[in-house]
Symmetry: C2
């Protein structure tokens, strides 16, 4: 018998979530039943898309249930096994979310081959955010020779890999992020122009200054002003991968859509939204490419780490004020 | 020596154009110089996209010049030729615009093979609007088996052909237009569901009623509420061809973009703007297909005809209040 502390959805937020929307609970775990394993998580992920699942509305993922643990990615080790092929100490990735430990059928978790990377990388650069960057840039935006690439949320888990994949392929990259520390990181990973959006009062003009001939590809993690700036600077036939709209996730009324939407027509822009779970077929190619880039020192990543399961809500809320440089992670046990 | 009356841009409009933005002038035409022909137009076209060219802002086509004749498509006959290969009576299509007659180098006009269609069809169903419908539906939205198609501005020159191409290919088609006469026309051309948007107070609900499982393709001629309704009813991976945004062309401030833009992400929607002039390579295939559909009685078209060059501004302004059923044309001479 062991115990696990977990974070549950206590109530659905209106606008920006508050600590009151979460509750801490401790449960007892029996020994794993036949076919099950018991896992103690070492790391869990908080990601912007989870905000949508806190609402009780139809979206690409089902809403979180009230009174149940928040779901999401985690990496941990098997502490007890009652299933063939799994042994104590095995490293596994799972999607049971914000909890220290759990029992589950062995088939519901994924044994992790770390390929020399730290385990928590499989929640970030080598995990869902990494595959998101790869999918959006290469499959959705269809990056091609000569493209100038603009990335918003460029210092985040997804954005920083988008920048580096584009640089590894020889492109001119413009990244936008907020604050001096993030701008320094963008320069360290080799972006050609780093825009500190918090220091600019006109993002369209800032983008025009750095890309006077316009942009061919926009990787959108943010929406709002960033999307409008990208439209105002779009070249004819440019392609926008719409990956995230974090600026709008906590809006209570309908947000204003891009006020210069007419540019989609005037500049023959292609915009495409995508959800990484529909592109899992790319994972083997992604991991192979990523290993190569890491070996060649073409990809770096950062983590912002909060310790302890009870700090998970704080880590999550920090995403919406840009508290994270790189991947926001919660370190457990 | 002959004379030609023409309509010039007198001043640039703010918002909806008024008759004062246009001026009538009569010019004398000398005999055509060597290499030139003289053409008397029988028909001229007014199209929504011309509104953008009345502004002094960068767009996909250069602004009309103040004090000069408005440009656009016309069909006429050669009345004098000083160029090899052209003879009096030849039918030609040209883009010199809102004028009764003109002299031009022979290479600047296009001799018309009417293939049994009336000459003015080459300003509508067999002309730029027709190719626009074909390009947007087949190349941009990439219509595929089983798609449910929603078309706004469905009784217009472009929209009515979109509906009929989709029907000819066996699709379920929902068309939106304003008023009983247009709705009757939509039924006549075989659309499965005709929505009279003027009679609906919630377009999203009206669309949901007619397409309870959602839409796969949206052909947008309108923008605004129609685009929002399409997003609210989009199936996963649906494709939107953004062809026109007539609801916004006379906005003076920045229009609100689609307030539910987040659906682009949530439903993995692909939206693509396009300009027909970038897809001229499709014209031979389009004309071959169109001939077939006309022979099989699968394509009908309507014209709204205004007579006399001085009525051209009135015809043009009528486009923005939906005065046209099918192609709006000005009959000359």
């Amino acid at each position: 018998m062991t115990t696990s502390t977990e974070i549950r959805l206590a109530s659905r937020p209106t606008g920006m979530p508050t600590p009151e929307n979460f509750e801490v609970a401790t449960v007892e775990l029996p020994d794993p039943a036949p076919g099950q394993i018991q896992v103690r998580n070492q790391w869990m992920s908080v990601d912007p898309y989870m905000r949508g699942r806190m609402n009780d509305t139809r979206s690409y993922a089902a809403p979180f249930e009230l009174g149940k643990a928040m779901q999401g990615g985690a990496v941990g080790t098997v502490t007890a096994s009652n299933a063939e092929g799994y042994a104590e100490g095995d490293l596994v990735r799972s999607f049971f979310g914000w909890r220290e430990a759990f029992n589950a059928p062995a088939a519901a978790v994924e044994k992790l081959d770390t390929r020399g990377l730290p385990p928590q990388a499989f929640l970030g650069v080598a995990g869902m955010p990494g595959l998101t960057a790869y999918t959006g840039l290469l499959r959705i935006a269809q990056l091609k020779d000569g493209d100038t690439v603009f990335v918003s949320g460029a210092a985040g888990a997804v954005g920083s890999l988008v920048c580096q994949i584009a640089k590894a392929k020889g492109h001119t990259v413009i990244g936008s992020a907020g604050g001096a520390e993030k701008i320094a990181f963008l320069k360290e990973i080799g972006v050609d122009h780093a825009i500190d959006y918090k220091a600019e009062n006109n993002l369209s003009r800032a983008l025009h200054r750095t890309a006077p001939d316009g942009i061919d590809v926009y990787f959108d993690n943010v929406g709002g002003d960033h999307l409008e700036a990208a439209l105002n600077n779009a070249k004819l036939f440019s392609r926008f991968a719409i990956c995230g709209l974090i600026s709008a996730y906590n809006d209570t009324g309908p947000p204003a859509g891009p006020r210069n939407f007419v540019q989609v027509l005037a500049r023959s822009v292609r915009m495409e939204g995508f959800i990484v779970s529909n592109h899992a077929d790319l994972e083997p190619a992604f991991l192979a490419d990523l290993s190569g880039w890491v070996k060649e020192d073409k990809v770096k990543w950062r983590e912002t780490v909060v310790e302890g399961i009870v700090k998970a809500p704080e880590a999550f809320l920090g995403l919406f004020s840009g508290q994270n440089l790189g991947k926001m992670l919660v370190k457990l046990g």
